[in-house]
């Protein structure tokens, strides 16, 4: 215990926390609340039933109507705390309801039916995770299809990005050919041309190539990332040329040198680019919105956007889909946080 105290107060090399430390921790605590609060609220809400979602003010944890299995009844019935005609209050289940009159029975004496005005009863709530929100979206909305589209675009585009960018980086770092410098500058120059300013002409190019409403129409324009070429080139410049010379002595072809020597040695840089590419493609929105207009081609992001207009009355499904969309990125982040943050700090890319 004294060890813990020592640990907590071990700041600025002195024995105790001064007011600036308290201020810092206060700021960070507020930051945690503000940054994680909405995410936590989203996840908690996604486990609520539609009835619990319309409650105002909302409860923190997901609660649902308690259901009780009563002898002699085929299905579980909703439990209420009802005020009986004789003035007493008791926990009763609802058998059926006509207008404002509910026919209720006591679970302990299933034979005695009582008529209760619905104003004289309160539903009994218990902690209940509405996992059906997550199950239903696969049956009701073709969620599996959107998931597949997103996974396909992300995986295929990332593989092609890694291959093409590594090839270009290899040529720009390990050869001296005429025009090389211009090629490098040309690729770097595209850093200055964000896709937002060529939306209209790119739409023409993609439609002329017959890629409208095709997942490839999202993949091809995205694979030649200048950031990737730059990142990999900087890394490959640090690989010793002697390795290549030795391989040439053994009559290895240039492609074999690239594939067998350079690529495996560039694994750390390739991993960083792979993480970035996965995040870019998974989160893409504007370009897929333009290229993919048929529902069956929608990515998760497009499906979420389309549903938020239609499903405002069915927030339970929308929230469950949102959580499933955020899950992969969260897992990647949880396991690879160190690589991502150092990658960004050193390369300054996003």
């Amino acid at each position: 215990m004294p060890k813990l105290g020592e640990l907590l107060t071990a700041t600025r090399g002195r024995g105790r926390l001064d007011w600036t430390d308290w201020l810092s921790y206060g700021y960070l605590a507020l930051g945690v609340l503000l940054m994680f609060g909405p995410v936590l609220w989203l996840v908690l809400s996604s486990f609520k039933t539609p009835a619990a979602l319309t409650e105002f003010p909302p409860r923190l944890l997901p609660y649902g109507q308690a259901m009780v299995k009563v002898e002699g009844q085929p299905e579980a019935l909703p439990l209420y705390r009802a005020k009986l005609p004789n003035g007493s209050t008791s926990e009763m289940v609802e058998l059926r309801r006509i207008g404002i009159q509910a026919t209720m029975i006591d679970p302990k004496h299933p034979d005695e039916q009582v008529q209760v005005n619905i104003r004289d009863r309160q539903p009994v709530r218990e902690f209940h995770l509405a996992t059906e929100n997550y199950v239903d979206i696969f049956g009701k909305f073709d969620f599996g299809r959107f998931l597949w589209n997103s996974v396909f675009i992300t995986v295929v585009a990332t593989l092609i990005t890694l291959l093409f960018n590594a090839m270009a980086a290899f040529a720009l770092s390990k050869y001296r050919f005429s025009g090389q410098r211009s090629v490098f500058l040309l690729i770097l120059a595209t850093l200055m041309i964000p896709p937002t300013i060529v939306l209209v002409p790119n739409f023409l190019v993609v439609s002329e190539l017959g890629l409208l409403n095709s997942l490839w129409g999202v993949i091809w324009p995205a694979v030649a990332t200048p950031t990737g070429v730059f990142l990999l080139r900087q890394y490959m410049l640090t690989l010793p040329d002697e390795l290549i010379d030795a391989a040439r002595m053994d009559h290895a072809s240039e492609w074999r040198i690239f594939w067998r020597i350079i690529l495996p040695l560039s694994a750390p840089a390739l991993a960083v680019l792979a993480i970035f590419s996965i995040m870019w493609r998974w989160n893409d929105f504007l370009w897929p919105l333009i290229v993919l207009s048929r529902t069956e081609n929608f990515t998760l992001q497009l499906a979420l956007n389309a549903f938020q207009g239609e499903l405002t009355t069915q927030w339970n499904y929308l929230l469950a889909m949102t959580v499933l969309t955020l899950l992969p990125v969260t897992l990647v982040f949880a396991f690879l946080q160190r690589y991502i943050t150092t990658g960004i700090a050193s390369a300054g890319i996003k």
């Binding site: 907590l8 071990a10 700041t11 600025r12 430390d21 810092s24 700021y27 960070l28 930051g31 503000l34 940054m35 995410v39 105002f56 003010p57 291959l163 093409f164 960018n165 090839m167 270009a168 040529a171 050869y175 001296r176 050919f177 025009g179 200055m192 041309i193 964000p194 300013i197 060529v198 939306l199 209209v200 002409p201 790119n202 739409f203 023409l204 190019v205 324009p221 694979v223 200048p226 070429v229 072809s253 240039e254 492609w255 067998r260 989160n283 929105f285 504007l286 919105l289 979420l304 938020q308 927030w315 929308l318 929230l319 969309t325 955020l326 990125v329 990647v332 946080q337 991502i340 700090a345």
Partner: protein, 340 residues
């Protein structure tokens, strides 16, 4: 067990061998034709072809669209109209009042974007700086806190927007909290000023972690002996901040400001999902104007959209040139010190 292990290990290996085999024969043939240094062209070709098709060619076509009219997508069917599209965009009796303009939405989008960029970048850089300064102190769980601030950067804009929409809705948690504090709830996204406020807020929330990280890297590169020397001279913490930290961080700060400006001018995803540009045109920004003009209206005015793209491209070009200048100055000026 061994069988499973064998499969797991050999699948990538088999794939790698397959790709090697497919490409090796043609590349070997090319190598024979081109010779060794020029084989480099074969290696850069795929990347260059993609860039040519989807970046350089579109820039040229964009000019063509901007100077032709009509609603046809195919260039040959579009009549040449010269500067008419640009003239239509800039047709205003009073440039300060969008409602006097022919394309009033364009001017609203321009003013909204300008205000948004100013507010969002200013506040975001301020918060990022404060957060980076706090995270640069000797605090417990620094990695955890850094992760917390960075996490939203990775979330997709659509997820971010839906999450905040859920928080901000009429019977949402924010209004519930306000009510418990005795304040009446607000329909946040149905009010023009509040919708704009939340656009700025959500955008800062989603992106500040990235800039915090860059500034933190800059702070950690400042040599510790400078602070020790300041302590010897009994300089106050405030004086160390204004005389050591901020001047040495200035190159990073400038880069961050310009980078954030370049992103802010292109704001679209989060806000489009959060507010749809509304209420009215209160949160309509320039990229959404381009998107709507070209792709979301029944009459698709590609020419007007392309002309608006040119205006956006010009803005970005200026910002990028400023950025290049600053980073070069940073490399020449502060670079030596940072490497030390």
């Amino acid at each position: 067990m061994t069988a499973l292990k064998y499969h797991v290990v050999s699948l990538p290996g088999a794939l790698a061998r397959a790709v090697l085999g497919v490409f090796e024969a043609p590349m070997r043939a090319l190598q024979r034709v081109l010779g060794v240094p020029r084989i480099g062209w074969a290696f850069v070709a795929p990347n260059l072809i993609i860039l040519g098709l989807f970046t350089f060619l579109p820039i040229a076509i964009n000019f063509y669209y901007a100077f032709t009219g009509g609603v046809q997508l195919y260039p040959r069917e579009r009549p040449f109209t010269g500067l008419e599209n640009l003239a239509t965009l800039f047709q205003c009796t009073n440039y300060l009042d969008p409602s006097t303009c022919n394309k009033d939405l364009f001017w609203r989008a321009i003013y909204n974007t300008a205000w948004f960029a100013l507010l969002q970048v200013g506040l975001m850089v301020l918060f990022s700086l404060v957060t980076a300064l706090v995270l640069n102190r000797k605090i417990l769980g620094r990695g955890f806190f850094r992760g917390v601030f960075f996490y939203p950067v990775l979330l997709s804009p659509v997820v971010v927007a839906l999450m905040w929409k859920w928080v901000l809705q009429r019977e949402g948690v924010l209004n519930a909290l306000l009510q418990s504090a005795g304040v009446t709830g607000v329909q946040w996204l149905n009010d023009a000023s509040w919708a704009f406020f939340w656009s700025v807020f959500v955008s800062i929330w989603a992106h500040m972690g990235f800039y915090t990280l860059i500034l933190l890297a800059g702070l950690q590169a400042i040599p510790a002996d400078l602070y020790e020397a300041a302590q010897m001279d009994h300089a106050s913490p405030w004086r160390s901040l204004t005389r050591i930290t901020l001047p040495l961080l200035m190159p990073n700060l400038l880069v961050v400001v310009v980078l954030a400006l370049i992103r802010a001018v292109q704001v679209f995803d989060e806000i489009f999902v959060l507010t749809g540009g509304g209420p009215g045109s209160a949160t309509l920004f320039i990229v959404q104007f381009i998107y709507q003009t070209a792709f979301a209206e029944s009459i698709r005015l590609y020419g007007i959209a392309a002309a608006a793209s040119l205006v956006l491209a010009l803005t970005l070009l200026v910002l990028t040139l400023v950025q290049l200048r600053i980073s070069r100055a940073a490399v020449e000026g502060g670079g030596g010190r940072r490497d030390a």
